[in-house]
Symmetry: C2
Subunit: 368 residues, 2 copies
């Protein structure tokens, strides 16, 4: 196995597949990148057995073959090489020769046959989604997944495909994020994707020029394909919560508020709140304004924001973190906050469309 | 005590003095910033008892007075406020009121009288140095100070003032950095400044427009003054090593080499060297070129660089870290490496001037 390709192209490919290299594994081969030379291209693959990434790049193939090399060391070497052609050659079953200008390396490698194969996904059950829409959908949901491994299904994001409608939903028992999108498909499936897959995917596609991501689903896996990259992830097993019944249809108070002002005020209020329990901030909604307060042993804050209120005045308290997380991913200048009672959830919605719904449970005030 | 000033000015001042706030102290007051309102300005002071920083800023003083407030919390609050005037008022001896637009904070504070006073330095024994020259001198020496607290004097940088000549020297037992500068002075003093003082100072003056830094020396302290800021540091006690006798005057081989090529080659060689002991890289200097090699259980590297050699060929080995540290601060395109034997130090010098000298001890090769 012997090939040559530009340093930049190779480095770009390493940077993509490196995102799925195992960092905490006892199997040395999973810390490696599988590199295969065939016909006119190279294939780089890395996997931690949960997520696998495969990237193809053009290269001058002098002889075909494959090896596995430590991802960290290989990445560091290629990163430090000059911007010129890199020649790589398998010398024997456990040694690779790397040359660029007057720099020459001999590095230990593993046998390619020991590297686990990625599952192959049938391309039939598939649909496409625009890169930008998909990135937004991920960004607006993935932060609301649970970190608690005791309910594994909640550590992922539900993808609900019902022909042309495509919803992504995450919830962690305290809050829920629902993003609606449109696609063209004839599928009817619900799958739950691990949050880590989506986070890495979102990072990789944000640097990609391709307009669409093709998604294929098999029984136990999802495959995301764009440009020369394939990301294959296992699906989370189990039934996702019936989220629709959690979202209230009615409200008693509707507040129209500037997203950025609300975020700034809550960020300031949380500076004192975070010292106490639950990052508690209190909202007092009246006809003229919304007052946000919080206090701890270090002091107290009082913030006022101008709002438009429809309906009843209300006093209610929240964990400020759950508010800030969502306000940071709202792209709309103004949002609605829909309240019912101070022990029922608040619903966030953009003023100008119905694409996004975010729900947070309040904290019961001791005076209730 | 009651004043008003623009959020940005106050934040800038906090960012400056915050660099000397104690992070590991059991005295809560040392985690604070002392704020004093007098006449038409505010004075902010922070100290960890080793380094103290004082900054003055213009403010509208409604009534005079002082308090001490937790630096971290105060910094976070001011940073999050809108870009507008901030009003601050001492309500009682342990509570401060902060207001900006519709945001209001009440925060606990300490009594100003409990804050340690900075030493006052007599302005007589002083000289000035250009901001840019001083920053370069710090950058080119401070990295070579020792991290080993068992010889405290080596954790600082020697400043040697002999009328118009001003040298800064750092050494750690394995390498030495000497930077020569020019000033106008009638002083004749040697003082050792803690490396931390110089690192913080360098960060602060790099954002400063003032052309000169005024340096005043008392028996136990140094004061650095520029714009509205004073940094006062204790001096390290004890006699600095007579560094002049360490620097060889003669050499047997002189290599002229491109600084950037050498740095790149050593960085690549050290990718494999760092896995072994001492980051060992080996240099083989011959008439045509210099070969750099290193190896570990993971593999080996071979690098060639074109050089001009005057004198004898030589084989010698070094800790690559000591080479890289110095090559990163050399501003010259080409440098000389002066070798004597493979058990005596190498000297780095710029090709075009005599401002900088760097010395590294070699590692004895087992074959010697």
């Amino acid at each position: 196995m012997h090939f040559s390709c530009p340093q930049r192209t190779l480095l770009n490919s390493i940077n993509i597949v490196q995102k799925s290299v195992s960092t905490r594994t006892t199997l040395p081969i999973l810390k490696g990148i599988y590199i295969e030379a065939q016909e006119h291209h190279l294939k780089l693959v890395a996997t931690d057995l949960e997520v696998g990434i495969e990237n193809l790049l053009d290269a001058e193939i002098i002889s075909e073959g494959a090896f596995v090399i430590d991802a960290k060391l290989f990445g560091e070497i290629i990163r430090k090489l000059p911007d010129d052609d890199v020649e790589i050659k398998l010398i024997d079953s456990n040694q690779v020769f790397i040359k660029c200008q007057s720099a020459e390396f001999n590095v230990l490698c593993h046998n390619a046959e020991d590297f686990p194969e990625l599952p192959s996904i049938d391309d039939k059950s598939n649909f496409s989604i625009s890169n930008e829409l998909f990135r937004n959908m991920i960004r607006q949901t993935v932060f609301a997944t649970s970190q608690d491994e005791s309910r594994p299904i909640l550590t992922g994001v539900l993808m609900e495909i019902d022909e042309d409608s495509f919803n992504m939903v995450a919830l962690d028992g305290y809050r829920l994020a629902l993003r609606k999108g449109k696609i063209k498909s004839e599928l009817n499936r619900k799958v739950v994707i691990p949050s880590r897959t989506l986070t890495e995917l979102s990072r990789i596609i944000s640097n990609d020029d391709e307009e669409d991501v093709e998604i294929c689903l098999s029984e136990n896996h999802a495959q995301f394909r764009f440009s020369n990259t394939k990301i294959i992830s296992r699906l989370l097993e189990g039934e996702f919560i019936n989220y629709k019944q959690i979202i209230p249809k009615e409200y008693k108070s509707r507040v129209k508020i500037n997203t950025k002002s609300l975020l700034n005020s809550i960020e300031r209020a949380s500076l004192l709140a975070k010292e106490g329990k639950n990052n508690l901030v209190k909202f007092i909604v009246s006809d003229e304004n919304m007052v946000i307060t919080s206090n701890s042993e270090l002091g107290k804050v009082h913030e006022e924001i101008i709002i438009t209120l429809e309906g009843e005045e209300i006093e209610i308290a929240f964990n400020s973190k759950y508010f800030m997380d969502a306000l940071k991913v709202f792209d709309e200048e103004e949002i609605y906050l829909n309240f019912t009672t101070n022990i029922s959830p608040v619903i966030f919605k953009p003023v100008s469309n119905d694409h996004y719904t975010y729900l947070v449970l309040p904290i019961r005030l001791s005076s209730n």
